[in-house]
Amino acid sequence: MYRFNDFDEAFLRDRVSRFRAQVERRIDGSLTEDEFKPLRLMNGLYLQLHAYMLRVAIPYGTLNSAQMRQLAHIAERWDKGYGHFTTRQNIQFNWPRLRDVPDMLDALADVGMHAIQTSGNTIRNVTADHFAGAAADEIADPRPVAELLRQWSTDHPQFQFLPRKFKIAVSGSRHDRAVTRAHDIGLEIVEKDGEIGYRVIVGGGLGRTPMIGKVLRDFLPQDDLLPYTEAVVSVWNLLGRRDNKYKSRIKITVHEHGIAEIARLVEEEFQQIRPGFAGLDRDFLSHIEHFFAAPALSEKSTAPNDAAYETDPVFRAWADTNLAAHRHPDHAIVTVSLKKHGGTPGDATAGQMRVLADLAERYGHDELRISHEQNVILPHVHKADLPAVHAALKAADLATANVGLVSDIIACPGMDYCSLATARSIPIAQQIATRFENLKVEHDVGLLKIKISGCINACGHHHVGHIGILGLDRAGVENYQVTLGGDHTETATIGERAGPGFSADEIIPAIERLVLGYLDLRESRDETFLQAYRRLGPAPFKALLYPEAKADAA
C-alpha cells in the first residue's frame, strides 16, 4: 500500500500543529465558535448530541496492521475503547475531548493517517471496492487511481470551498461493490480492445433527492483521467448552486442543465487544462502503482480447509457466507462481520481491532480493508489458513456467519449520536438482527440487503437497500418509512416508497412479515428477494407490509 514520503509527513505534521494552535486559541477565547467551526470541520472534528466526534479517513478502505493497532490505541487512550466504521470506509471516534484531539491527530500521523477532508465542502475520502486487488472478477486494482485522486484532491486550492461536499468512488471489477452509481463521480475501470480505461459516471447520489448517476464518458483513456476529473469538478464548481444547499450537489446541476450540456462544458474545460498536466499525472500514477503490487501468494495444500469444511459445521456455515472468490483459486477473501446479532453495526472494540491486525499480519499479507457495508476484510488468505483464522475470530467474538444476510445491516449512527438525525437507527438494526436470529431463517432467506438511515441525508444508503428503512420524526414520535427494490450494484436502482411509515414498535413485525412473506412468493430458493420483487412488482410486497389495507379493500 501507499507509504507517505517526507513531503506527506511534513505536510501532516504542519497541519496538526496548526490545528493544535487553533484549538488553544478557541479555548483561550481568541477564536469564536463561528471562526473555529470551519477549522475543526476541515480536520474531521464534529460536535454531536453527547460529545465531539472525530472522523478519520481510511483512504479507499485500505489499512495495514500497524494502522489498525494505532486505531485501537487511540480508541483506548482517548475514547471509550471502540471505534465505528462507516459507509464511507472511515472510522469515527464518538467521545473525544477537545483538548485531546491534536494528540489524536499526531498519533494518526505516526502511521500515515489523518482526518483531513472528512467533512466540509471539499472532495471527501475517495472510496473503492473493498475487494480491490483480490477479487476474481477484477479488471484492474482501483486503488492506485484512488490514491492518485486522494493526493490530487487533498488541499487542492481550487476545491476547498466547493458548492457542497463531493464524493468519488472507484471500482475495478465487473461487479460494482463500490456503489459508483450513487456518487458525485463514479469511476469504473473498463477494458476496450485490450486497452484499460474508465467509464465516468456523474451525478449520482442519495440524500434528499436520490439519483442514479449518468454516464458522462463511456470510455476515457487512462492518461486523461486526472485532467478530465478536474474538468468535471471545475465545471460544477462554477455552475453548482450556492443559493440553496439542497440544490447544490452535482446531481442537481446535471439534472438542471442536462447531461449533454455538462458533457460539452466538461469537454471544453478538459481540452483547455489538459496540456498543463503534461503527462506528470501519468508518470505519478505509475509511481503509485508500485506501492500496490500484488502480494507474493504462497503455494501450499488446501487440505486443512477441506478437512474443517467437512467436519466442522460452524466453520462450514461461516465459510459459506463470509468468503468470496479470490483471483487465486487456493486463496479466499475473508469478510469479518461487524454485525453480531444485537450488536451495533460497524463497531469494533480495541481488542477486536488488535486481533484483526494480528490476523492480517500473520495470514493476510498485512492487508485489511473496511467495506462501505461496515465490515472488515482480510483480502488475501490462503485457504489452508482459514480454520486458524476462523478460530481466532471466534475467540474474539468476530465469527458471525451472516455476510449478505438479513442481519448484515448497514445502519448510520442515527439519533443515538448524530445531531442531524431525526430518529434512531441502531436499535432498529439490533432488533431486526436479533429477531431473525431467533427465527433461525436468515440462511434460508439468503441474500438480502437491509439499509437503515436515521435521516433524509441517507448515510445508511437506505435508497439502495433491497429493503430500505428511513427514520423520521412525525409529530414528535420516531417513525420508520420503508422503501423496496433498491439496488447498490451495477444494476443500481432507487427503492420505491412502500406506503405510510411505521412506529418504532411496528417496524420490526412489519419487516418480519415482509421477509417471511417473500419466502412464499419466491419461485425457488435461488430467487433472491430483489429478483422476486423485480418479477412480481411492489403489490404483493405491499400487501405483506399492510395486511389491514388489503382486508379493507376486500
Binding site: 478557541r26 479555548i27 414528535g476
Partner: protein, 103 residues
C-alpha cells in the same frame, strides 16, 4: 390572541467535553437537566439565550428547547432532548452512567 408560550430551557454542549448541559437558575451550566431553569415567558427566554451566547468560552451552540413542568423538575418534551439527558441507547455510555458515578 397570542399563542400560549411553551416553557423552555436553555441548553448547549460544553466546549471542552462536548457533553450536553443546561443553564441553571444561578446562571451555571449543569449536566443534569433537573437543575435547569424552566423559563415560562418569551422575554425571559430571549434574555437567557443572550446571556448564554456571552458564555462562548464555556459552551457551544446554546439554544432554547421546549420543556415541560414536571412534578419537581423540568422535563424534556421531544425525544431528541430526552436522549440528550441520557446518552446513546446502544451502550451504557454518557450521562446514563456518568451521572450515576457522581451520585
Amino acid at each position: 390572541m397570542p399563542r400560549p408560550f411553551t416553557p423552555k430551557v436553555v441548553t448547549a454542549n460544553r466546549l471542552l467535553e462536548g457533553d450536553a448541559v443546561w443553564r441553571t437558575r444561578d446562571g451555571d451550566w449543569s449536566p443534569d437537566m433537573a437543575q435547569a431553569e424552566l423559563i415560562e415567558d418569551a422575554r425571559t427566554a430571549e434574555l437567557r439565550l443572550l446571556e448564554a451566547a456571552a458564555e462562548a468560552h464555556l459552551v457551544v451552540g446554546a439554544y432554547l428547547a421546549d420543556a415541560a413542568r414536571g412534578e419537581t423538575r423540568p422535563e424534556p418534551v421531544h425525544f431528541r432532548e430526552a436522549f440528550r439527558t441520557r446518552g446513546p441507547s446502544n451502550y451504557a455510555h454518557g450521562k446514563q452512567t456518568d451521572m450515576q458515578e457522581k451520585t
